[in-house]
């Protein structure tokens, strides 16, 4: 019973990783990364938990009452905030990849041309990318 939280964390991380490895869609991939990240929430909160401990807020309970680990809770807070903004950043990169490649499939991601024919030629190279990937 005492390993259940750690097992849940490992399971979440595992299925998230499996989803990332087999993903055929960038949005699905970002979601899988979120699943991986929730494994870290479970792990951190599990590490900081103590049976019978109160939340580390000594307003209703006097200081000195056994409480759970506040460091882990602060870490999870950091984790959530960073995760939310990074998800936004990754979704923007997804939008960019879709605009350039016309596809959300990681398999069809092609290297970006380093502006060989100036930025104006971007539309043409995108079309040729699409032809390559369908052939």
């Amino acid at each position: 019973m005492s390993v259940l939280p750690y097992a849940v964390a490992a399971w979440l991380f595992g299925i998230g990783l499996y989803g990332i490895a087999t993903s055929r869609n960038f949005i699905h991939l970002v979601g899988c990364l979120g699943v991986c990240q929730s494994a870290t929430y479970v792990l951190l909160l599990g590490l900081g938990y103590r049976w019978g401990g109160i939340a580390p807020i000594f307003y209703d309970h006097p200081p000195g009452t056994p409480a759970v680990d506040p460091v882990m809770q602060a870490l999870v807070l950091t984790d959530i905030v960073v995760g939310a903004t990074l998800t936004a950043l990754l979704l923007v990169l997804t939008i960019q990849a879709h605009k350039r490649g016309g596809s959300l499939d990681p398999e069809k991601l092609r290297p970006m041309r380093a502006g060989g024919t100036s930025g104006r030629g971007q539309g043409a190279s995108r079309v040729s990318d699409r032809e390559q990937s369908t052939s």
Binding site: Y18, A21, P70, L91
Partner: protein
């Protein structure tokens, strides 16, 4: 790489890493029996030393304030990157007003939705302010309250529509909120040095334990975080929403690359 090869590689990596992972998991403390000594000491000392009741805020804004400063700038960098990527190809000029895609119908909202949002919006904002202000006494703080405040602004969008939302929310204000919040946090670290104290040392009066204005410098840092998170997350909503309004790029053959 075909999906089958990818799965095979993943399984191979898992096989290699599994013994190490099992070793680490077996070495973890049993769940629920004890907590780390560091957290134990913080719980024991901080209420008297900093006059605050919420240990999580005490760690975020005082004991490990430097780490939160780093997190704050990570947030700033991620949001700046998002905005630059989204705004880059739209151009700076057209963000001041609501854009509408030609040909997209404007669906009128039912009066019930408008009424519900007009009631819930201010209440959500009030609750967000409450959570922000009570950072040092009850569960709450700048991060959580800031996100609630940002969702309050989203209710304006739901109730008043996009054009009304853009009239109420100005992109430049959001930039100022976000950058100003981060600046305020950085100043909280630097100003104590002018008095000869250490970086981010709590030089303000600490106040009374369990009082709303306890914690000294933590309150200012908390306010900075709340401003940055509110501005940043609203900015994210705004930029993503604007993205759905951008005209199809297929109609512009000579578009600039982002």
């Amino acid at each position: 790489m075909s999906p089958r090869v990818r799965i095979a590689l993943l399984a191979l990596a898992a096989l290699v890493l599994l013994p190490g992972a099992a070793e680490v998991i077996a070495g973890l403390p049993p769940f629920g029996s004890t907590i780390a000594q560091y957290g134990e000491r913080i719980n024991a000392i901080t209420p008297e030393a900093r006059h605050v009741a919420n240990m999580v805020s005490a760690i975020n804004f005082d004991l490990r304030g430097l780490d939160t400063l780093g997190e704050e700038f990570m947030l700033l960098a991620a949001i700046t990157g998002t905005v630059v990527l989204l705004r880059g190809r739209r151009g700076e000029g057209n963000t001041g007003h609501a854009m509408r895609r030609p040909g997209r119908a404007v669906i009128p909202r039912s009066e019930a939705v408008i009424l519900a949002c007009r009631i819930a919006g201010p209440l959500t904002a009030l609750f967000g302010l409450y959570v922000v202000l009570h950072a040092t006494v009850t569960p709450g703080g700048g991060f959580q309250g800031g996100v609630i405040l940002a969702s309050g602004t989203l209710l304006i969008y739901l109730g008043e529509g996009y054009a009304g939302w853009r009239q109420a929310i100005h992109s430049h204000w959001l930039d100022a909120l976000e950058g100003g919040g981060a600046l305020l946090f950085a100043l909280c670290g630097l100003v104590p040095m002018l008095t000869g104290a250490a970086f981010m040392q709590n030089i303000l009066p600490l106040g009374i334990f369990r009082d709303l204005f306890s914690g000294g410098l933590m309150l200012v840092e908390n306010l900075g975080v709340a401003l940055a998170v509110t501005g940043g997350f609203t900015q994210l909503f705004l930029e993503f929403m604007e993205e759905t309004r951008a005209a199809d790029e297929a109609e512009e053959p000579g578009e600039e690359s982002a």
